[in-house]
Amino acid sequence: MSDIIFSMAIRNIRINILRSTLAAIGITIGIISIAAMGMLGTNMTASVTESLSSMADKLQVSPYSGKGGGGGPPGMGGSSDNLTKKEYNSIMKIADEYGYGYGVHSIRGSVKKGKDTWNTQVYGLEINDMKKVLDNLTAGGYPSTDNAVLIGDTFATDNDFSVGSIFSVGGDSVKVSGIIASRGMTMDLSTDSAVVMTKDKYESIYGAKDEFNQVNIVLDDIDDADVVTEDIDSTLNRREETVRVQDSSRMASMISSSVTTITSFASLIAGISLLVAAISIFNIMMMSVTERIKEIGVLRSIGTQKVEILRMFVYEAILIGLLGAVIGMVLTLIIGYIFIQIMVGSTKYFFTYDSLIHLPYAMGLGLIICIFSGLYPAWRGANLDPIEALRAE
């Protein structure tokens, strides 16, 4: 069957092409705003999650400092800043059950090269732990003596150090044996701008023999994070809180959740543009009905049902919505791609399902808004009194 009603809706759009296109552009802008915001959120979340995933399987156990003590370097500022041997052994026992644990000495230490002196992060680790945890050297090798150290990629670049460079840490001269590749955002060891020395060297400079100020646990199974935390709590924090366990996966999910909240709010703001588009379409549909009152009268007098008049105007609204949605889809892919490249710095996740799904959602929303905006004018047109409509000029 030839749908003459649909055909008439198309012709009316064609006749008023400028007006219809302007209305469609309103929808297009709304769709671009909402879809791009949604995509931005997904891409940011994916990007952050990826950055955090490398530390999601790690737990950090450190002395509880909630009583206000501490702040000084281990071995110098009081024992409350370090884990006791007993605490260390208990933590390592639990760590061995669920994965791999290692003690970490850390301090903001003084570094000197020539006449220049500055402070940087200094870590002290067992050689075996270094080999296991810092398995990403870009140059050189692991320390073979206590005077050899590893340095972070940023530290090396910023200070023009390379393998073999000599500088002093805490007054002791050390030689660079290897450079650690950039590890980005991590919670266990932030080595990019740090010096990593052997445990013995660290203790010879800063003291705190066998009293680590942190134990890191690398879990075999990421789902064991809660169990390990509970085990440590029940073993060490039963009477009073002596250690604090930081769960990286929880931090990762909090950051992801925050990104989602922010982008959802931004999408909501972007939704205002769709509201404006809805008002524009409502206005245009009302104009269309008003201009065609006489035509409606004729249509009704020669046997067109109310529902067919309603259909004609709803078709017009749908066509405007479809036009806007299709233009919006194409432009979102282009603008969204550029926008995300600028905002996130990577389009790695742009063409994933989670990212692209925002496009049909936004298009669907735009189309529904178009239909709703057209419903009242269509209903009004359909319910015009045929006699009054025929009299209209």
């Binding site: 030839s2 008439m8 012709r11 004729v298 007098s301 020669i302 046997g303 109310k306 006699i387 025929l390």
Partner: protein, 225 residues
């Protein structure tokens, strides 16, 4: 006995206005038989258009019984009234009232599609257009590209496409020059002779004189029929 296609019994139509009720039709009773050519005349404001709207099922009376083809229109809902207009009544207006978005051919085909839910493949639309003197080339044009006479011919073809029993004409020659008016009237007369019931509302005594019967309305009442 000839079948009665239109029957008005004691029809009253009152328009409630803020300034007071206006009685447009006051106890009007008319009977029109199948194949009759009836003209309705009367001065402006006499109730002619109101009567035509009642006959065309565009409006329902305040009281009284109006039967079209034996069916009481007061008992019909909007959808049934619309279908009655589509199947039984053909409208011819003074200002032609063709649909500006459609070509002449599509204007004629439109009520056919509404009725049969398909395009005309029987050639009926083309035959009707040819009958009223609109050739294939003219049929492709939009109403705005046709002369008044051509538009009225298209309107006549449109009114006939669903083979209605009744043709309702509201001043069908009112917007035409006298020569074209004569041709259109001749066409309508021919349709009446082929059996269509023709009801014409007019100011023109010349047209009224050609009818089998003239109904004169004044102040909402039938004063002569």
């Amino acid at each position: 006995m000839t079948e009665e296609v239109v029957c008005l019994e004691d029809i009253v139509k009152i328009y409630p206005l803020a300034s007071g009720d206006v009685t447009a039709l006051n106890h009007v009773s008319i009977s029109i038989k199948k194949g009759e050519f009836v003209s309705i005349i009367g001065p402006s404001g006499s109730g002619k258009s109101t009567l035509l709207n009642q006959l065309g099922c565009l409006d329902i009376p305040t009281s009284g019984i109006l039967k079209i083809g034996g069916k009481n229109i007061s008992e019909m809902n909007d959808s049934e009234l619309t279908n009655l207009r589509l199947f039984t009544i053909g409208f011819i207006f003074q200002k032609f009232n063709l649909l500006p978005l459609l070509s002449a051919y599509e204007n004629v085909e439109y009520p056919y599609i509404l009725k049969y839910r398909r395009n005309d493949k029987s050639g009926r639309v083309s035959k009707l257009l040819a009958m009223v003197g609109i050739n294939e080339n003219l049929a492709k044009h939009k109403p705005s590209e046709l002369s008044g006479g051509q538009q009225q011919r298209v309107a006549i073809a449109r009114s006939l496409v669903n083979n209605p029993t009744i043709l309702l004409c509201d001043e069908p020659t009112g917007n035409l020059d006298s020569k074209t008016g004569v041709l259109v009237l001749k066409m309508l007369r021919a349709l009446n002779q082929k059996g269509k019931t023709l009801i014409i509302v007019t100011h023109d005594p010349g047209i009224a004189s050609q009818a089998d019967r003239t109904i004169t309305i004044r102040d909402g009442r039938v004063v002569d029929s």
